[in-house]
């Protein structure tokens, strides 16, 4: 019985001791690298500008593919655009209780934020026309405050509302190509339209140019700057999506199957092919690419996997072609993937991190 008592005491001490040990750690501050989560890419003057969700913009030198300076913008920035040597970044304030409603303006010669322009609540997308005007789509709070389509005028920075409903859009030449739809009672997309808005004369030209039936939910729109062909990507968020191609006047041309959530189309230099970025599902590691050859009308699915024997990563957010390279911002993997625009073979995978203070408890 005595042995039992000793063993019992020892065991009870052994059991409860770890609790005290684990509670007794000190409060120390050390630096740890956290993923900065790249969201959008723009390029000018031999540099690619990487906008990251944790509030930073970083320069990438396109000749030696090394990261340069980093500056801080607003909260949770997303889309960006360059016009007249200025970089405009949308601050969404994503996870904040009070969402941001500003556009950060960065002078590219000094690479400093010069000002913030206030727009409607929760801005999501931004594009520029050749006259220096900026167009912003905002989502509001999905309730009492509606989303808006707004113009920021080139020199005055005056913000005006445009009475057109916009979900996604692209600007080529004097036209803004606007994709819109509404949700019905079961959260399916209804009343899908493709409108044309004249950015020079600042008026709606055609409320809907499309007559063919579009399945699922429109997700992205990109217009070829040379051929003016319109590429509309659709998704149901669960299965593979589709890419529709229409002529400038809305005539249906063709369609092909994409991966999950097609989010951006990038055209080759000779316009004989295009690459579609498939966002994939968040935390499903299924971002990918499609290569579509316009001359042979062949669709190569899982193009990146095919060429590099590995997946693209998790949540492909944005893609641009600059020179002979294609740059892809992979949001959750927190990398910028640089590939050869002609072969699709990877040149460099750049991890995007920020050093932050880590408080250990």
């Amino acid at each position: 019985m005595k042995t039992t008592k000793i063993i019992t005491t020892l065991l009870l001490t052994a059991l409860y001791a770890p609790i005290f040990i684990s509670c007794n750690s000190k409060n120390e501050v050390e630096k740890v690298s956290t993923p900065s989560s790249p969201r959008s890419l723009t390029a000018a003057n031999g540099k690619v500008y990487i906008v990251q969700y944790d509030g930073h913009v970083t320069q990438l030198d396109t000749t030696n593919l090394s990261l340069g300076q980093t500056i801080t913008v607003g909260a949770n920035p997303d889309a960006s655009v360059i016009v007249n040597n200025k970089l405009y970044v949308v601050n969404t304030g994503g996870m904040a209780t009070v969402k941001d409603s500003t556009i950060s303006v960065i002078d590219l010669s000094t690479f400093k934020e010069t000002k913030k322009i206030k727009v409607n609540l929760n801005p999501a997308d931004i594009k520029a026309d050749s006259y220096g005007d900026l167009y912003v789509v905002s989502n509001g709070n999905y309730g009492s405050i509606p989303g808006k389509f707004q113009r920021i005028e080139a020199t005055t920075d005056r913000v005006t509302d445009i009475a057109v409903a916009v979900k996604n859009f692209d600007i080529v030449g004097d036209n803004a190509y606007i994709s819109n739809f509404e949700y019905d009672a079961t959260w399916a997309a209804a009343n899908k339209t493709l409108a044309i808005y004249d950015v020079k004369n600042e008026k709606l030209v055609n409320a809907n140019i499309i007559t063919t039936e579009i399945i699922k939910t429109p997700y992205c729109i990109d217009v070829n700057p040379v051929t003016k062909d319109i590429y509309l990507g659709v998704t149901d968020y669960i299965n593979n999506g589709k890419m529709y191609c229409f002529k400038q006047d809305g005539t249906y041309k063709f369609e092909f199957t994409t991966g999950l959530n097609p989010s951006k189309t990038v055209f080759s230099k000779d316009n004989n092919s295009l690459i579609v970025l498939n966002e994939g599902k968040y935390e499903a590691n299924n971002a990918g690419l499609n290569l579509y050859n316009l001359t042979t009308s062949t669709n190569t699915e899982n193009y990146f996997l095919l060429k590099n024997n590995r997946g693209l990563g998790d949540t492909g957010q944005d893609m641009i072609r600059y020179g002979s390279k294609i740059y892809i911002a992979v949001y959750k993997s927190s990398i910028v993937e640089v590939i050869n625009a002609n072969t699709g073979v990877t040149i460099k995978t750049i991890p995007m991190v920020t050093l932050t203070d880590k408080v250990t408890k």
Binding site: G94, Y142, D236
Partner: protein
């Protein structure tokens, strides 16, 4: 359980062999299929928690998120984990928030028996809540038994294993005279959990791969339970139980390709419950029992991520759940083979959430649930007939916003087991059960996603099968075989449909049709003078198809459900030595549209071995888990540890 034996004891005389294992007989005679593992069998399964044992049941789909601290749930015959009730010494565990019980929180050290019943346990003298699930996983702790000669029993043990796993535990039981009995069980588990794993950057093993290490995957947990039993007289007794579970763990999260930054998610949880049970076996004809329980669960989830820009990158979510539960059951013997029972339960749940970022419009819901059940059982040597009708009602209230509508449901079940031959324990059985699953508070009230108008899901279960128990072959000390074909249909299934990338909504849209087969065999063979070869095997075929109208996956296997799965075990007992081998396998699983090959998850087979011996008071058990170093995932992007080791040293403290 004791009741079954009282009724059946008249009939065991008719069997030719004297000793028939009571548990095996229960399994063979059950009209609703039941599988049982006793404490001794659990010790041979390379198991450190309840889910490790559940992997050896047939007809189950396990979701294991990896490591000691990862979440673990069990789903039966394709219905979903929320249909699996978990009963702890007669009272159901609950989680009103997610509807799923994390099985990692139970210690095996004080468990005497784990059983899995399809439909419900066959005993009609149980609380109404025991009839309200699709199937029940019953955990029974070591009884306070005063029949034995000893008045004190105890065991101290220490387990150590790979990835910094340490598990000291203590169990002591003491009887004071004939009236009082107590037991105390307490253990702690600590692990750093840092296992290496093989990551493929694609879904094929031809793709590029890297050996990485799991981080932020530590766990520290402590479980304590105290039981007291007071025998008022030989018919009446009161038992009181108090249980505390506390843990702190890192949540490594799912794997993200190329992002090797550590996850900063942490989870602290504490659950306390206390339950009281009064039992009165008034006479041979009449008995009644009452339960009361209070449960308090506190979860604290935290994360550090720069996306929480307004709160200095810090997220703190606190969830507090409370439940008050009472139950009364009565059983009456009308005629010799006919028993009827009535039971009624009532319980109250509430949920409070405090977060620095989310849930600003939380409704603070509360729910009252009332159950009334009547059941009948006709029990003779050759025929067992069972039937019950369960009535459920719910009333919900919210502090702000709109509450979910009140619900009421009637759910019947019938079962039959018939012994086909006069002198052989060969039976045919069948059952039908209709049951529902109420939407959880997450389904109804989760910010931006919840849908207050969700209806309960509805499930119809059909089963037909055979059991055979052989006890006349001299070299077979045990032989039980069963084969069951089943058909389940779940309608109004609560599924999430996407509105956009980050916004999903809950809706009653799904339909699932499950057809399958469960085969079980337990066979013990006598060898040499007194050696024993113990074998068990099971195999499940589950064709669980999406039958949702308009679904893109219509006709395809539902996610995470392998068509083929099973397990096998063999061990050899020689005196004080025992050595054994266990294997579990799962076929291919899909996580989405089958036309997309990247949705395919490979099958796997995991082999483990153990050897144990005892000397006087001491017992030693050494194990190798995942002998062939197989890298596998149960849930996609949650890699499981590969080959690892464990050693257990225990000492019997009794006199």
């Amino acid at each position: 359980m004791a009741n079954e034996y009282q009724a059946d004891s008249l009939h065991t005389r008719k069997l030719k062999t004297l000793t028939v294992n009571g548990q095996r007989l229960q399994v063979a005679r059950a009209a609703m299929p039941v599988q049982i593992f006793s404490e001794k069998e659990i010790a041979t399964l390379n198991a450190v928690n309840v889910i490790d044992v559940a992997k050896y049941f047939s007809g189950v789909i396990i979701k294991d998120y990896g490591g000691i601290g990862g979440m673990k749930t069990v789903s039966l015959r394709g219905m979903g984990a929320q249909y699996t009730g978990v009963s702890y010494d007669g009272v159901m565990m609950s989680d009103i928030q997610s509807g799923q019980i994390d099985l990692g929180r139970f210690s095996l050290d004080n468990i005497a028996e784990i059983s899995l019943s399809n439909g419900q346990p066959n005993d009609i003298f149980q609380s109404a809540r025991m009839f309200s699930s699709g199937g029940v996983l019953c955990l029974k702790t070591k009884l306070l038994d005063y029949d034995k000669n000893k008045s004190f029993e105890g065991k101290a043990s220490f387990k150590a294993g790979s990835f910094g796993f340490l598990n000291p535990s203590l169990f002591i039981a003491k009887n004071f005279g004939k009236k009082w009995a107590f037991n105390l069980s307490t253990d702690a588990q600590i692990a750093n959990g840092k296992y290496t794993f093989l990551q493929y950057y694609g879904s094929s093993t031809d793709n590029l791969s890297a050996e990485l290490k799991r981080t932020n995957t530590d766990i520290t947990s402590i479980r304590s339970e105290i039981n007291g039993l007071y025998r008022i007289n030989e018919k009446e007794s009161i038992a009181l139980k108090s249980n505390f579970f506390g843990s702190e763990r890192g949540l490594p999260g799912s794997i993200t390709f190329y992002n090797t930054n550590d996850s900063q998610q942490r989870l602290k949880d504490r659950t306390f419950f206390t339950q009281i049970h009064y039992l009165n076996k008034v006479s041979d004809k009449f008995q009644h029992q009452y339960f009361a329980k209070f449960n308090l669960s506190d979860n604290h989830y935290s994360d550090v991520d720069t996306k929480y820009s307004s709160t200095n990158s810090i997220l703190n979510d606190h969830y507090l759940q409370k439940e008050y539960y009472v139950s009364a059951s009565f059983q009456y013997k009308l005629l010799e083979p006919l028993f009827i029972s009535a039971s009624t339960d009532w319980w109250y749940n509430d949920l409070t959430i405090n977060s620095n970022v989310n849930f600003k419009d939380f409704n603070y819901p509360t729910r009252n649930t009332g159950l009334a059940n009547i059941a009948a059982k006709y029990l003779t040597e050759r025929l067992t007939l069972g039937a019950n009708l369960l009535y459920t009602l719910t009333r919900e209230n919210v502090r702000t916003g709109v509450a979910s509508p009140d619900r009421d449901k009637l759910s019947p079940s019938v079962s039959v087991s018939y012994k086909l031959l006069e002198d052989k324990e060969f039976r045919i059985r069948a059952f039908y059960k209709n049951i529902y699953r109420l939407p959880t508070f997450n389904d109804l009230y989760y910010q931006e996603m919840g849908n207050k108008n969700l209806r309960p899901e509805d499930a119809n279960q059909y089963n037909i099968g055979f059991t055979y128990l052989e006890n006349e072959i001299p070299f077979l000390s045990e032989f039980v075989f069963s084969i069951d074909g089943f058909y389940n249909r779940v309608t109004d299934k609560i599924i999430a449909i996407p509105r956009d990338m980050f916004h999903w909504s809950m809706t009653n849209k799904g339909n699932v049709e499950i057809k399958g087969l469960d085969v079980n065999l337990k066979m013990n063979i006598k060898a040499g003078k007194s050696d024993l070869i113990k074998t068990k095997a099971n195999y499940s075929l589950q064709s669980a198809k999406d039958a949702t109208v308009g679904s893109d996956n219509f006709g395809e296997q539902i996610p995470y459900t392998p068509v083929h799965s099973g397990s096998g075990s063999i061990s050899y007992e020689h005196g004080k030595w025992e050595a054994g081998y266990n294997m579990i396998f799962s076929g291919v699983r899909w996580i989405g549209q089958m036309t997309d090959k990247t949705n395919k998850m490979n099958g796997y087979a995991i082999h483990s071995i153990f050897v144990s011996t005892s000397y006087k008071r001491w017992k030693v058990n050494a194990e190798i888990i995942d002998l062939f170093n197989t890298q596998y995932e149960v849930v996609k992007f949650y890699p499981m540890p590969r080959r690892n080791f464990r050693i257990t040293l225990s000492m019997d403290l009794g006199k």
